[in-house]
Amino acid sequence: MAGEVIEIKDLRFRYKHREVLSGVSFSVKKGEVFGFIGPNGAGKSTTIKAMIGLLFPESGTIRIHGMDPADPAMRRKIGYLPEEASYYRFLTPLEILRFYGSVSGMDGASLKRRSGELLELVGMAEFRNKQVGTFSKGMAQKISLAQALLHDPETLILDEPTSGLDPIAKSVLRDLLKTLAERGKTIFFSSHELSEVALLCDAISIIKAGKVVLSGPIGKVVGAGDQNLEKLFIRLVKGEEA
């Protein structure tokens, strides 16, 4: 369908004889902020890894900007933030950004400018020349955010973006995501923080045991207010089984 940046159809993935994804389907429109929520082990990170080409699904299709995730040209259009940030411990934040910028096709001048700007934005400018091996989880997560935004991608794929961040950094991230959404970026993110999802998202999908159990615009799916989302989430994930 026109205007859809992410299209996932009947995605299936098996890990060591266990079906992790059992026909996941959803789509994300251009400029949409899309929340992907579900309990632990539901298949959120597996879906995201398939979307960025780390996992090869057994069947189903993934199209992002009309391209397959195996195509490096597709990955030039996305910025990915992993759930657990891990970087080369012997490099400094500045070197990490220059490295990722270089493999993202950025030229020297814009890379230098963007690296400085983003380190300022995530509050890591004073640590720019310290080796990452000495950093806490939250500091590494900030570097993660900077690298995801570095090449100004059209689409952001964020796996638990607020994980490990302190309240101030969370607030900065929320504001940043709002600003990016206003600028027309497509944002896909998984999260456990339902208040955040309710606050930021235009649409959501709830995944449970490898299947999407509910999907659609947030207004239609839950109405207004994060309390409703939380109740809905608990009912879908837990309550109906009881």
Binding site: L54, L55, R75, Y80, A85, L91, V103
Partner: protein, 257 residues
């Protein structure tokens, strides 16, 4: 090529920012310094012993550092999840394998250059004349052997743990370096089915011993013909390409979780 160079650059930084290289370098320096002060009952030409010890240590440490570096590249990235972000960028898996290989090889060749350069300076101070051509050949050909070893470790890195990979690769490297040249002679002495089997093995294994020019440097012999040196480079490149192709095939569709 830009992606390959960027990935290789990170691997080179890794070896010079960890202490392994400096430990090996200082150890070699101490052994050489101590050996230079020894007096072997007025035996002349002791520089030959020094060169033998120095080249042996330099080559061994360069092979050890290169093999361990190349062997840990992919498993460490899988375990540390550093490859998740890298492979989410516009980097193909072919570029990833090539970058890791090139970086490990460049790191090993740079380490050996330092060992080799210091040793040459050391022997020159002992008034031993070294042919520049022979020295250049010895360096380049040893690096070709390192390239082969790096490609082998890179390929095995997709199926083995770093420790198992380094052990298997270095054992093969050592055994083939020491006994590879005698394999053909041994095969020709055999009868029955063992003879063609050993001849086939001799033909298939990468002969690391071809790249060891130590004796020419130690004894001041002439360099080998440049045509032969070029053929040896082609030989190493062909084997490396085969190992890298195997590595790429193993990694091409590998799930990274």
């Amino acid at each position: 090529m830009r992606n390959v160079a960027a990935i290789a650059g990170v691997v080179v930084k890794e070896i010079f920012r960890k202490k392994d290289f400096y430990v090996a370098f200082v150890f070699t320096g101490i052994v050489l310094f101590y050996a230079a002060r020894l007096r072997f009952y007025d035996v002349g030409n002791t520089y030959r012993y020094l060169m033998d010890i120095g080249l042996g240590l330099g080559m061994s440490f360069a092979a050890l550092l290169t093999a361990t570096l190349a062997a840990r590249q992919f498993p460490a990235e899988m375990q540390g999840r550093t490859c998740h972000v890298l492979l989410s960028k516009a980097v193909s898996r072919r570029e990833y394998v090539a970058g890791k290989f090139l970086g490990s090889f460049a790191a090993g060749a740079s380490c050996y250059l330092l060992f080799f350069g210091v040793l040459l300076l050391f022997t020159l101070t002992k008034t031993h004349q070294v042919s520049f051509a022979a020295a250049a050949q010895a360096y380049v050909l040893f690096c070709m052997g390192l390239m082969l070893l790096t490609a082998l470790c890179t390929a095995l890195g997709f199926v083995m743990t770093p420790a198992a990979n380094a052990t298997v690769s270095l054992t093969l490297y050592l055994m083939i370096s020491l006994y590879g040249v005698t394999l053909r002679q041994a095969a020709e002495k055999q009868e029955g089915v063992l003879r063609p089997v050993l001849l086939a093995v001799n033909l298939l294994i990468p002969h690391f011993g071809f790249f060891d020019m130590r004796q020419r440097l130690i004894h001041g012999w002439d360099p080998i013909s440049w045509k032969l040196a070029a053929l040896l480079c082609v030989y190493a490149s062909a084997y490396s390409a085969v190992f890298l192709a195997i590595g790429w095939l193993l990694f091409r569709k590998k799930n990274i979780s």
